[in-house]
Amino acid sequence: MRGKLGDRVLYLYTWLIILWLSLPIAVMVLFGFNDKQSKSNTSWQGFTLKWYQQLFAIDGLTTALVNSLMIALISTVLATVLGTLLGLAVGRYRFRGKGITDFLIFAAISTPELVMGASLLSLFVSGNAPRGHITIIIAHTLFSLAFVVVTVRARVVGLDPSLEEAARDLGAGTFTTFRLVTLPSIMPGVLAGAMLAFALSIDDYVVTSFVNGSTQTFPLWIIGAVKVGIPPQVNVMGTLIFGIGVLLAVVNAVSARRKTTH
């Protein structure tokens, strides 16, 4: 009997933690509808949709969001290509230097963001490289890459090598085998890695704050606006990104379930 009661307490407790984790999201969504009159947006003053209508009214914010999306897109493509190739190498082959490669991957994941950003800035400063879009893309590709390697490697390790041998026996060349056999079977890992890379890039503040020069991204713009007050458009953009992200994740999960049940 005591066990049953304990389970129920834990069940309620889990929900409590989930509610607590979701609370700031609810606040963010709510204050996107706040008809605020004064400069601060901390107290509820009535319902309005005007921030949705004036979503792109703040030029700096819109530019920052466009920058973020563009940087996330490019760095995701770069990190996915580089990470997939390296993931194939470490997941499939035994070669000299594999130990060092594993260490590099571990180092890329475990280096504190602060150190990564600061050291990249040191490099760019000593190389006299102008900071901007390109340096941000370089940095984002760097910290996303290792995560793509890890997700792709997990998929490659579980792969049956006889499939590729069969393709080669049937006369397929290296590239054809890769395109028609290897790539489709590691695709879920590649996609998961790409999604992770995109999420990491669009969310990053710390590393970006070192290498951005005068280029603004969405998180940087928001932090810059904290002192003067966050405009409700930020809440609206956050809400839309949240909605699209959750929708994609749910669609993805449902379609994955369909595939396994059919």
């Binding site: 005591r2 304990g6 834990l10 069940y11 407790y13 889990t14 933690i17 607590w20 984790l21 700031p24 999201i25 606040v27 963010m28 204050f31 901390t42 580089l82 990470g83 190739l85 390296l86 194939l88 190498a89 499939r92 082959y93 070669f95 230097g97 490669t101 571990f106 280096t111 504190p112 602060l114 150190v115 990564m116 600061a118 050291s119 990249l120 800035l121 040191s122 490099l123 000593s126 370089i138 940095a139 590709t141 760097l142 669009i202 969310d203 503040y205 710390v206 070192f210 969405f218 998180p219 928001i222 932090i223 904290v226 966050i230 930020v234 956050g238 990104i241 949240f242 959750v246 994740a249």
Partner: protein, 283 residues
């Protein structure tokens, strides 16, 4: 020809990691041993004075960061373990739904989530403003710009990174092992302490690593939720680099931080036993 395939595959990523990770960290090490300033230039003097100066000047913020990071990690462990336990053993077919709900905050930007807490905790915000209006709280009551707000923010932001690895470890525990313990007349508590807990330690190790390092180095929570008395080492590195352009000092602080964290991880790893560490690192 085939012999070279892994090298061709690895080459582009190798170059990227070498040029943008290894070289910069080496460059930072060398910058931390220079003296000079932005206008006159920096000279490589191999003097360790930057380190002693930085540590002397910012020891308060160093200790504060380790303390805040440590307290936040302990709170996350205490708060997170029961959640991981319940989802792993009791959630049944709804496991993935609960994991999804735990990950929900990650669909909102880290910065935005932290600012949302600022909204919630504001002195005249929806929570405290309302309570003050009802006379339930004294007028001077505030949480924002205090230590509690910063540590609370760290716990909030990194908690899922504690729960997930513990969940993964618990999920792998073979239920027959637990049944065996009951068959041998172990109580619920004894079963937990002597069977489940030891088997979940690799997850606890991974969880602590994934939360302590970023929480200690995080500048955002202190900046958004803290006051002038809560400055952490992350804020100092940002200011020294980006505002003061004092690259030698900033590099020395970054390096010290990394060294302290690595030594911490090493001691922690030894205390927990290297087998667990290797197992945790292998994941």
């Amino acid at each position: 020809m085939r012999r070279w395939t892994p090298y061709w595959l690895a080459l582009p990523a190798w170059l990227w990691l070498a040029i943008f990770l290894v070289v910069p960290i080496a460059a930072m090490a060398s910058v931390s041993l220079t003296t000079g300033n932005l206008i006159d230039g920096f000279a490589q003097t191999f003097s360790v004075s930057n380190y002693s100066d930085a540590i002397a000047k910012y020891s308060t913020q160093f200790l504060r960061s380790l303390l805040y990071g440590g307290i936040a990690t302990v709170i996350m462990l205490v708060l997170g373990y029961p959640v991981a336990y319940w989802i792993a053993f009791k959630a049944g077919h709804r496991k993935s739904m609960f994991l999804f709900l735990l990950l929900l905050p990650f669909f909102v930007s880290f910065v935005l989530r932290t600012i949302s807490w600022g909204f919630l905790l504001a002195d005249d915000g929806i929570l405290f403003g309302t309570l003050k209006g009802w006379g339930l709280l004294p007028e001077g009551f505030h949480v924002l710009a205090t230590t509690v707000a910063v540590i609370g923010g760290l716990v909030y932001n990194f908690l899922p990174f504690m729960i997930l690895p513990i969940y993964v470890a618990l999920e792998r525990v073979n239920p027959t092992v637990i049944e065996a313990a009951y068959d041998l007349y172990a109580s619920r508590f004894a079963t937990f302490r002597r069977v489940v807990l030891p088997l979940s330690l690799p997850g606890v190790f991974a969880g602590v690593l994934m939360t302590f390092v970023p929480a200690t180095a995080d500048p955002i929570n202190a900046q958004v939720l803290g006051g002038t008395g809560n400055t952490m080492i992350g804020n100092i590195v940002q200011t020294e680099y980006l505002v003061n352009s004092n690259y030698p000092t900033a590099s020395a602080i970054s390096f010290t931080l990394m060294a302290v964290l690595l030594i911490g991880i090493f001691i922690y790893a030894r205390a927990l036993g290297t087998e667990n560490v290797l197992e945790a690192a292998a994941r």
